[in-house]
Symmetry: C2
């Protein structure tokens, strides 16, 4: 998606430890006009799949998922990172390791909202080591739902998550795949 790649080249910043900082337009401040174009592109790439639910993970996936869901006319569910008083009843739980935060946490989804008849699209801002996406995939599978695929804004192609999950048979549509990055250059997969 050229609009996104151009924006990453213009406003993305490479930081130590393979961090690509896009927090001026994707995951701290959010450019909603860009997110709308991203949502329409996901709709185009998953147009005939009969999707019934979009599943994402807090926090930075939520905005992208909600904007995208408008074009599918389906609800969004976001997996929560810890149990709060507001969730009672039974939940599905998976462990996820955060690349950015460097720790392992539980993510949960209430059993009320995912069912075997659901066709689920996973949405997230980044795919790096694949732990969050694998966690979302497992949550949907725990519910017996069909996972139609995953829509990712930025995939780090030099980290193993994308290959691992595609090898499992998951359809992943990443709108920009970064194959290498250094302080002063960044190249995308064609």
């Amino acid at each position: 998606m050229d609009l996104l790649k151009q924006r990453i080249l213009k406003d993305g910043k490479v930081r130590k430890g393979n961090v690509l900082k896009v927090d001026s337009f994707i995951n701290h401040q959010m450019d909603i006009a860009l997110l709308c174009e991203i949502g329409k592109e996901f709709r185009r790439r998953f147009s005939d799949e009969g999707i019934t639910k979009i599943l994402t993970i807090e926090a930075s996936g939520i905005g992208i998922a909600c904007i995208t869901a408008q074009y599918f006319q389906v609800p969004v569910i976001f997996a929560k990172k810890s149990q709060s008083k507001n969730i009672d009843g039974e939940v599905y739980t998976q462990k996820v390791e955060s690349f950015t935060r460097g720790r392992i946490y539980d993510v949960i989804v209430s059993k009320e909202f995912l069912h075997p008849e659901d066709k689920v699209l996973l949405i997230d801002d980044f795919l790096a080591n694949g732990s969050a996406l694998q966690g979302l995939y497992n949550l949907a599978k725990d519910a017996g739902a069909d996972v139609v695929g995953a829509g990712i804004v930025i995939e780090k192609g030099f980290q193993p998550g994308g290959k691992m999950l595609r090898d499992m048979g998951l359809k992943i549509e990443s709108l920009a795949i970064v194959d290498s990055m250094t302080d002063d250059s960044l190249s995308f997969r064609e």
Copy 2:
């Protein structure tokens, strides 16, 4: 907002400790069609204020803020609950006490994204004791920005946050104000 009140009566659940559970349509699973109507209503109530940014707090404010921002054509910034590797540089920090989670945490916003010339609309799903909204207000004020007002989906009118912040002069538009709730009844302020 009648559509919202009817939905709360139909699908909201009252839980011990003054918890109103709306996680089937607002803050775990999100009904995007309803969120669009909520966004349009916020736009109607803050139509002539020259808003330049929407500020919310992770996680459940993000979806509402992003959907709402489309109708204002402005970016969203979400305050983050802890510092991750992805935020460098200077941040504004405030302490917030979570009613639902029962603990105090830091919320931060990068100084890059809020400026004295900004006219900020605060958005959140709930207003109860007012700690989160006060934190957002203070973050915007720390940046020297003008806080135009706050759009709240559900205010618990029997808790002190709304009165406290209105007494400070903040314009708060709550789409549903719950004045009392028990296990089998729930009443809204007219």
